[in-house]
């Protein structure tokens, strides 16, 4: 038995969809290293690399370092997923991980990294975070719409 596999809108009777590509990024962070940075540098460390919203969200948790580590992993994962060769200053304040009332995370870009993402044709960004006592990890998927990228 053979089965035809249709790719990217070639199925008969369906209009061809616009071409879409994706970028994927992942990162893993040792929670103990974030714990040590928080212990040694305190609020100055958090306020430098995390937004006020992230600090409020993570600080309200029972084990804040795990949540800060997960957000740092997510920021790095997003940067890896973006189709951007970033050589500027560390953009961690400009890649914010926000959570809706149900706790679902999403990404808000701002500043120069947002401008670079728009120029590169980035449409949507999805992110997923996870952590245990020792490690935090995140995966980001960036949808790049070719129409925007070429425009």
């Amino acid at each position: 038995m053979t089965r035809k596999v249709y790719v990217d809108g070639d199925r008969p009777g369906l209009s061809k969809r616009p071409s879409v590509t994706c970028g994927v990024g992942t990162d893993i962070v040792e929670v103990s290293r974030i714990t040590a940075l928080m212990r040694d540098r305190g609020a100055a460390f958090l306020e430098r690399w995390f937004t006020a919203g992230e600090i409020a969200y993570c600080s309200a948790k029972a084990m804040p370092p795990q949540h800060f580590a997960a957000r740092y992993a997510a920021k790095e994962a997003v940067l890896k997923a973006l189709p951007v060769a970033w050589n500027g200053p560390l953009p961690w304040q400009s890649i914010e991980i926000v959570n809706d009332p149900h706790g679902v995370p999403s990404v808000q870009l701002s500043g120069a990294i947002l401008e670079a993402a728009i120029r590169a044709g980035v449409g949507e960004i999805g992110v997923s975070l996870s952590h245990c006592i020792e490690y935090a990890t995140a995966v980001a998927v960036v949808v790049i719409t070719s129409n925007q990228a070429s425009g």
Partner: protein, 89 residues
């Protein structure tokens, strides 16, 4: 002073990221990230180390590869931030 700063930066990298293995000491111009000496969390640790150990402020705009990418660039950056004639910690 350059030599002392380079030595202290190298010691930090060896002790924290190379398990004390001095046979793996990065060359001055080796890329610390691209060649796998330190990871993304290590960059934050390195910045915090520079600030606490050498007493210099690293502004957001200075967190770029030209300043942090190698032992040579780190040494040059820290040296440029220290007052002339002032020894490091």
């Amino acid at each position: 002073m350059d030599t002392q700063i380079r030595t202290e930066l190298t010691e930090f990298i060896v002790m924290n990221y190379l398990f004390g293995d001095v046979s793996r000491v990065p060359l001055d111009n080796d890329s610390l990230i691209d060649e796998g000496y330190i990871d993304s969390t290590g960059i934050l640790e390195l910045i915090e180390f520079i600030q606490s150990h050498f007493g210099v402020e690293v502004s957001d705009s200075e967190t770029v590869p030209e300043n942090l990418g190698s032992v040579a660039s780190l040494t040059k950056f820290v040296t440029s931030k220290l007052p002339v004639g002032e020894p490091s910690c």
